[in-house]
């Protein structure tokens, strides 16, 4: 009896091991197979500038992500993970040492060395060079090449978010300094794909880099096709002229989900919209009034209507994917009665209040503002909407010339990146982007401490306290956390959800079903 059982276990065990080995072997084979096939991806607008130090629009970044490797990249949980740097040390709070992978080559065959790393960051932080990321490196004092594969960053003072800013693509120094080569239109990196052709306005072609240090991509070619009009972009996907589309209008998501030939990947570090008050302008300088007005708007109704219920309403500026997110902050229900009571308490008569909602001409912003206007009018406030072109809108809000503004923010990494520049009282424009002119001594103090605190647990507590204060003082209130949607042909296999990097993992891993 016993023996038989043992024997059966043994047989099953051997078979299991054999099966596992077999599957590993085939998987290995799959990974090593020659890249094949092509994925055509429709993007909203053609890229502007392919130099990762200069091109900041998302369309340029799709190309940069695939062509360039960086020292560290931002992982799925918004944490820095190794890329060109295999490992790093932090021997003193102001010193970081990165150890590079050896033998990694740029697409032109020249090896990536510490010199290229130093050159990339030296140009990034040089104001003469004109990168919009320069401010991220204010704390960097010097960068030293220790040997070909080791580079050291020395800071003026400890700067906790430092590693999060190690993600720009590393450019080849020999080409960057070559007058005859324009990296802004002919990018050369060490990433999984090499750009082989840019037909302006028509397509960007990327070929698989078979020598990529994490293994060759599964597909041979990625072609990015700019198609501005959303209706047309979707039609091209449905008719099979493209295999994937970025920038799908929310109203079409449901229809795509119901279409058996298409699929949807959702993800990406969350972005969010806010309703912000000019905190120095009466009556919005009174927290009671701000709270009242947040009670007066139906956040969930707005999210439900504008985003078809696809995204959760937001209550704090730190996104849920971040380690510093605090889900316990105060929330304000939609309660027009309470809004009226609070206004009365503050001595403000809604009938005499006249508010302009300032925003700029993007669909989501205009839709949100329009619905809010309607909801404010329901408690008797005379509300109107002002929609301007972005540059003019920004001039207004930077000079504090507004009542309430509605705008969106992009992806965030370390909590410091958003909170410091948007809430520290020394960051009122033009110094920073504290456009709500919020000033709170405790918040200033916490922001300064959290910047230099290296212990993440301690930092987390500080950021949670900041989030609590913001939620109770409401200089602004976030509305919803949006992610991005990719619609694609259901025959594509192994499509990974976009993370902070939107196309990177997907382009490396996806392949066509046989």
């Amino acid at each position: 009896m016993h023996t038989r059982q043992h024997l059966a276990r043994l047989v099953i065990g051997i078979w299991s091991i054999a099966l596992v080995m077999l599957s590993v072997a085939t998987a290995q084979e799959g990974a090593n197979a020659q890249p094949s096939g092509e994925i055509r991806i429709a993007i909203p607008t053609e890229p502007v500038n392919l130099d990762p130090r200069l091109g900041t629009d998302s369309n340029s970044q799709y190309v940069q992500e695939l062509v360039y490797s960086s020292l560290l990249r931002i992982g799925g949980n918004l944490e820095p993970v190794p890329d060109l740097a295999e490992s790093w040390e932090n021997p003193a709070p102001e010193r970081y040492i990165f150890h590079l992978r050896e033998g990694v080559e740029f697409h032109d065959g020249v090896e990536v060395t510490a010199e290229d790393v130093k050159y990339t960051f030296d140009t990034l932080r040089d104001p003469e060079f004109g990168s919009s990321f320069a401010a991220n490196y204010n704390a960097v004092q010097e960068i030293n090449v220790i040997d070909d594969y080791t580079v050291e960053f020395v800071l003026d003072s400890p700067f906790a978010p430092f590693l999060y800013y190690m993600n720009p693509g590393i450019v080849p120094r020999h080409l960057a300094e070559d007058e005859g080569h324009n990296l802004q239109s002919e990018p050369v990196g060490s990433g999984p794909f090499e750009m082989t052709e840019w037909r302006r306005g028509e397509s960007v072609t990327l070929e698989a880099n078979v020598d990529y240090f994490e293994g060759a991509p599964r597909v041979e070619r990625i072609v990015l096709v700019p198609i501005p009009e959303t209706t047309v972009r979707l039609l091209e996907l449905e008719t099979g002229n493209v295999d994937m589309a970025i920038g799908i209008p929310n109203e079409n998501i449901q229809a795509i989900r119901e279409n058996p030939e298409l699929a949807i990947a959702e993800g990406g570090a969350a972005a969010f919209h806010v309703m912000a008050f000019q905190n120095e302008r009466a009556p919005f300088d009174d927290p009671l009034v701000r709270r009242a007005l947040v009670h007066a708007i139906d956040k969930e109704g707005i999210v439900e209507h504008v985003y078809y219920g696809l995204f959760p309403p937001a209550h704090t500026p730190i996104v849920p994917t971040s380690w510093a997110h605090d889900s316990t902050v105060s929330q304000y229900d939609y309660d027009p009665e309470r809004a009226r009571e609070l206004l009365e308490e503050a001595g403000v008569d809604p009938e005499e209040l006249s508010i302009t909602l300032h925003t700029w001409n993007r669909d989501a912003e205009v839709q949100i503002a329009t619905i809010m206007q309607n909801q404010l009018e329901q408690i008797g406030i005379d509300a109107s909407v002002s929609v301007k072109e972005f540059a003019a809108f920004r001039d207004d809000i930077n000079s504090g010339n507004y009542d309430i503004l509605i705008m969106g923010f992009g992806r965030q990494t370390d909590p410091d990146s958003h909170l410091y520049t948007h809430f520290h009282s020394n960051q009122v424009p033009p110094a920073g982007v504290n456009r709500w002119r919020f000033s709170n001594e405790r918040v200033d103090e916490l922001l300064e401490q959290a910047r230099v605190e290296v212990d993440q647990e301690v930092r987390k507590e500080m950021y949670q306290e900041i989030q609590q204060i913001i939620a109770s003082d409401v200089p602004y209130t976030p509305l919803q956390y949006t992610t991005i949607f990719l619609a694609y042909n259901a025959d594509l296999q192994n499509v990974t959800y976009p993370t902070y990097l939107r196309l990177f993992d997907l382009a490396k891993n996806a392949y066509w079903a046989e």
Binding site: Q367, V385, A391
Partner: protein, 273 residues
């Protein structure tokens, strides 16, 4: 008189006149005619198809499209007429001066006309709207800055023909002051051709505004200009065709009406055709 009789018997002329008059009546009495308050939002009513309750359906915010088109007629008429006035105010005096004084003045004015004519209207308008930050008066500027040239060329050539006729020359010889001649004798004779031209081009800014709206540089959506309505509705062209089609049709009907009227007026007022 016989010509006016022909005008009344011409169905196209009558249709054009009715459309234009209808538009003006609707614009004047818009708030009284609109079946719903045009800004009344009922979020639950998003994109209702046309029905007896909402003849043209509802939009993204559940607002009644017919009511918004009726209210929007005001801004549409304003864009068309004010841009027209601006063009006429620049173009007619320049055309009169060029045709009447000839010589160097004519040359300078015609060079100026050439310069402004050489810009594609939409592109220059886009540039102006993009750099100025938009708004109603910038829109008027953007839509008039190239279009006044058609007035100055038209008026100039008319003046040239007129000054060759005897009566103007004789009055000139009698020493009448130039301004008097221009206003008493030349301008009145240019009026018919100006009216015909104005009728034919009044709808051009309305169409141009719709293109600017499409590119995100027209009037803001809450103004319910027809161009902005059609442009914002286009995202839903498959799910809610009515949100883009009716504002588009409204524009088409007005362009059609003014053109029919213009053609008919030309038959009457400008005997050379």
């Amino acid at each position: 008189m016989a010509r006016w009789k022909r005008f009344i018997r011409n169905p196209a002329a009558v249709a054009g006149t009715l459309i234009c008059l209808g538009l003006i009546v609707v614009a004047i009495f818009a708030p009284a005619i609109a079946p719903y308050p045009p800004d009344q939002m009922l979020l639950g009513n998003r994109h209702l198809p046309p029905s007896p309750g909402h003849w043209m359906g509802t939009d993204f915010f559940g607002r009644d499209i017919l009511s918004r088109i009726i209210i929007g007629s005001r801004i549409t008429v304003a864009v068309g007429l004010i841009a027209l006035l601006a063009q006429a105010a620049i173009g007619i005096p320049l055309g009169l001066a060029a045709g009447y004084f000839k010589g160097r003045i004519d040359m300078v004015i015609m060079r100026l006309t050439d310069i402004f004519m050489s810009f594609p209207t939409i592109l220059l308008a886009l540039a102006i709207m993009a750099v100025s930050g938009g708004g109603f008066w910038n829109l008027i500027l953007a839509l008039s800055i190239t279009s006044w040239t058609s007035f100055s060329r038209l008026v100039r050539s008319q003046v040239l023909t007129l000054t060759e006729r005897d009566f103007v020359q004789s009055s000139h010889a009698l020493g009448a002051r130039d301004l008097r001649t221009i206003f008493r004798q030349i301008l009145p004779n240019c009026i018919p051709i100006i009216i015909v031209h104005a009728t034919l081009v009044v709808a051009v800014p309305i169409l141009a505004e719709s293109s600017l709206s499409f590119l995100g540089l027209g009037l803001p959506p809450e103004t319910s200009s027809w161009g902005a309505m059609a442009a914002t509705g286009r995202a839903y062209i498959r799910e809610a065709w009515w949100s883009v089609t009716f504002p588009g049709l409204a524009i088409a009907v007005v362009v059609l009406g003014t053109n029919l009227l213009g053609d008919a007026l030309r038959d009457v007022l400008d005997p050379k055709m």
